[in-house]
Subunit: 98 residues, 2 copies
Amino acid sequence: METPSELNGLRSSIDNLDAALVHILAERFRCTRQVGKLKARLQLPAADPAREERQIERLRSLAKAASLDPDFAEKFLAFIIKEVIRHHDFTRQANVDV
Amino acid sequence: METPSELNGLRSSIDNLDAALVHILAERFRCTRQVGKLKARLQLPAADPAREERQIERLRSLAKAASLDPDFAEKFLAFIIKEVIRHHDFTRQANVDV
Protein backbone atom coordinates (compact mmCIF):
# COMPACT_ATOMS: atom_id res chain seq x y z
CA MET A 1 0.00 0.00 0.00
CA GLU A 2 1.29 3.45 -0.86
CA THR A 3 1.15 5.69 2.18
CA PRO A 4 0.39 9.40 1.81
CA SER A 5 3.16 11.78 2.79
CA GLU A 6 1.14 13.18 5.71
CA LEU A 7 0.91 9.71 7.25
CA ASN A 8 4.60 9.07 6.67
CA GLY A 9 5.40 12.35 8.40
CA LEU A 10 3.37 11.43 11.48
CA ARG A 11 4.97 7.98 11.55
CA SER A 12 8.43 9.56 11.46
CA SER A 13 7.46 11.66 14.47
CA ILE A 14 6.20 8.56 16.31
CA ASP A 15 9.46 6.74 15.52
CA ASN A 16 11.52 9.66 16.83
CA LEU A 17 9.46 9.86 20.00
CA ASP A 18 9.80 6.09 20.53
CA ALA A 19 13.59 6.35 20.20
CA ALA A 20 13.56 9.13 22.81
CA LEU A 21 11.40 6.99 25.13
CA VAL A 22 13.77 4.02 24.85
CA HIS A 23 16.82 6.13 25.65
CA ILE A 24 15.18 7.88 28.59
CA LEU A 25 14.01 4.54 29.95
CA ALA A 26 17.55 3.17 29.63
CA GLU A 27 18.83 6.12 31.65
CA ARG A 28 16.07 5.70 34.25
CA PHE A 29 17.12 2.06 34.79
CA ARG A 30 20.73 3.20 35.16
CA CYS A 31 19.56 5.48 37.97
CA THR A 32 17.44 2.87 39.75
CA ARG A 33 20.31 0.37 39.57
CA GLN A 34 22.56 2.93 41.25
CA VAL A 35 19.89 3.54 43.89
CA GLY A 36 19.73 -0.21 44.55
CA LYS A 37 23.48 -0.39 45.06
CA LEU A 38 23.52 2.71 47.25
CA LYS A 39 20.71 1.46 49.49
CA ALA A 40 22.42 -1.91 49.86
CA ARG A 41 25.71 -0.20 50.77
CA LEU A 42 24.08 2.17 53.30
CA GLN A 43 21.75 -0.55 54.61
CA LEU A 44 18.75 1.66 53.98
CA PRO A 45 15.24 0.20 54.04
CA ALA A 46 14.21 -1.33 50.71
CA ALA A 47 10.89 0.39 50.10
CA ASP A 48 9.79 3.98 50.68
CA PRO A 49 6.00 4.10 50.30
CA ALA A 50 5.87 7.86 50.98
CA ARG A 51 8.28 8.51 48.11
CA GLU A 52 6.22 6.30 45.80
CA GLU A 53 3.02 8.12 46.79
CA ARG A 54 4.65 11.45 45.94
CA GLN A 55 5.85 10.09 42.58
CA ILE A 56 2.32 9.00 41.64
CA GLU A 57 0.76 12.35 42.58
CA ARG A 58 3.46 14.28 40.75
CA LEU A 59 3.13 12.21 37.56
CA ARG A 60 -0.66 12.56 37.61
CA SER A 61 -0.29 16.31 37.93
CA LEU A 62 2.30 16.51 35.10
CA ALA A 63 0.06 14.34 32.91
CA LYS A 64 -2.93 16.63 33.44
CA ALA A 65 -0.84 19.66 32.47
CA ALA A 66 0.25 17.87 29.28
CA SER A 67 -3.29 16.70 28.39
CA LEU A 68 -2.34 13.08 29.02
CA ASP A 69 -4.81 10.81 30.83
CA PRO A 70 -3.56 10.84 34.48
CA ASP A 71 -4.81 7.27 34.97
CA PHE A 72 -2.61 6.22 32.07
CA ALA A 73 0.38 8.02 33.62
CA GLU A 74 -0.21 6.16 36.88
CA LYS A 75 -0.51 2.80 35.06
CA PHE A 76 2.65 3.66 33.16
CA LEU A 77 4.59 4.28 36.40
CA ALA A 78 3.27 1.01 37.84
CA PHE A 79 4.43 -0.79 34.69
CA ILE A 80 7.95 0.60 35.03
CA ILE A 81 8.08 -0.07 38.77
CA LYS A 82 7.18 -3.72 38.12
CA GLU A 83 10.13 -3.93 35.74
CA VAL A 84 12.48 -2.24 38.23
CA ILE A 85 11.50 -4.82 40.85
CA ARG A 86 12.01 -7.64 38.33
CA HIS A 87 15.50 -6.26 37.58
CA HIS A 88 16.27 -6.12 41.28
CA ASP A 89 15.11 -9.72 41.66
CA PHE A 90 17.51 -10.66 38.88
CA THR A 91 20.40 -9.03 40.65
CA ARG A 92 19.27 -10.44 44.00
CA GLN A 93 19.16 -7.04 45.60
CA ALA A 94 16.40 -6.43 48.04
CA ASN A 95 16.85 -2.67 48.12
CA VAL A 96 14.37 -1.29 45.66
CA ASP A 97 13.80 2.33 44.80
CA VAL A 98 11.37 2.96 42.00
CA MET B 1 14.06 9.04 57.63
CA GLU B 2 16.86 11.36 56.59
CA THR B 3 18.01 10.54 53.07
CA PRO B 4 21.68 10.91 52.10
CA SER B 5 22.44 13.52 49.44
CA GLU B 6 23.59 10.87 46.95
CA LEU B 7 20.17 9.20 47.11
CA ASN B 8 18.40 12.55 46.80
CA GLY B 9 20.47 13.34 43.71
CA LEU B 10 19.54 10.07 42.03
CA ARG B 11 15.89 10.61 42.90
CA SER B 12 16.00 14.08 41.33
CA SER B 13 17.34 12.49 38.13
CA ILE B 14 14.55 9.88 38.20
CA ASP B 15 11.96 12.64 38.68
CA ASN B 16 13.36 14.62 35.74
CA LEU B 17 13.39 11.54 33.52
CA ASP B 18 9.80 10.73 34.52
CA ALA B 19 8.70 14.25 33.60
CA ALA B 20 10.40 13.82 30.20
CA LEU B 21 8.65 10.45 29.71
CA VAL B 22 5.23 11.95 30.48
CA HIS B 23 5.71 14.81 28.04
CA ILE B 24 7.02 12.58 25.25
CA LEU B 25 4.12 10.17 25.78
CA ALA B 26 1.67 13.09 25.59
CA GLU B 27 3.20 14.12 22.27
CA ARG B 28 3.10 10.53 21.00
CA PHE B 29 -0.63 10.34 21.73
CA ARG B 30 -1.12 13.63 19.88
CA CYS B 31 0.52 12.02 16.84
CA THR B 32 -1.49 8.78 16.98
CA ARG B 33 -4.71 10.79 17.36
CA GLN B 34 -3.81 12.69 14.18
CA VAL B 35 -3.04 9.40 12.42
CA GLY B 36 -6.48 8.09 13.44
CA LYS B 37 -8.20 11.17 11.99
CA LEU B 38 -6.11 11.05 8.82
CA LYS B 39 -6.83 7.37 8.20
CA ALA B 40 -10.54 7.92 8.75
CA ARG B 41 -10.53 10.85 6.31
CA LEU B 42 -8.59 8.96 3.62
CA GLN B 43 -10.48 5.71 4.30
CA LEU B 44 -7.22 3.85 4.80
CA PRO B 45 -7.19 0.38 6.36
CA ALA B 46 -7.20 0.45 10.15
CA ALA B 47 -4.26 -1.80 10.94
CA ASP B 48 -0.85 -2.14 9.30
CA PRO B 49 0.78 -5.31 10.69
CA ALA B 50 3.94 -4.81 8.59
CA ARG B 51 4.44 -1.35 10.10
CA GLU B 52 3.96 -2.75 13.61
CA GLU B 53 6.46 -5.53 12.93
CA ARG B 54 9.05 -2.95 11.82
CA GLN B 55 8.37 -0.85 14.94
CA ILE B 56 9.00 -3.83 17.23
CA GLU B 57 12.27 -4.78 15.50
CA ARG B 58 13.47 -1.18 15.50
CA LEU B 59 12.71 -0.67 19.21
CA ARG B 60 14.43 -3.93 20.14
CA SER B 61 17.51 -2.84 18.22
CA LEU B 62 17.52 0.64 19.82
CA ALA B 63 17.10 -0.95 23.24
CA LYS B 64 20.08 -3.26 22.73
CA ALA B 65 22.24 -0.28 21.71
CA ALA B 66 21.18 1.55 24.89
CA SER B 67 21.76 -1.49 27.16
CA LEU B 68 18.04 -1.79 27.84
CA ASP B 69 16.44 -5.24 27.91
CA PRO B 70 14.94 -5.64 24.38
CA ASP B 71 12.12 -7.79 25.79
CA PHE B 72 11.21 -4.92 28.07
CA ALA B 73 11.23 -2.49 25.14
CA GLU B 74 8.86 -4.77 23.25
CA LYS B 75 6.55 -5.12 26.27
CA PHE B 76 6.66 -1.35 26.66
CA LEU B 77 5.54 -0.81 23.05
CA ALA B 78 2.74 -3.35 23.51
CA PHE B 79 1.64 -1.48 26.64
CA ILE B 80 1.44 1.82 24.76
CA ILE B 81 -0.29 0.25 21.74
CA LYS B 82 -2.95 -1.15 24.06
CA GLU B 83 -3.57 2.36 25.36
CA VAL B 84 -3.68 3.81 21.82
CA ILE B 85 -6.35 1.26 20.89
CA ARG B 86 -8.28 2.06 24.07
CA HIS B 87 -8.16 5.77 23.15
CA HIS B 88 -9.41 4.97 19.67
CA ASP B 89 -12.24 2.95 21.18
CA PHE B 90 -13.14 5.97 23.27
CA THR B 91 -13.36 8.20 20.23
CA ARG B 92 -15.17 5.48 18.28
CA GLN B 93 -12.58 5.54 15.55
CA ALA B 94 -11.68 2.24 14.01
CA ASN B 95 -8.59 3.51 12.23
CA VAL B 96 -5.74 2.66 14.51
CA ASP B 97 -2.07 3.39 13.92
CA VAL B 98 0.18 2.56 16.78
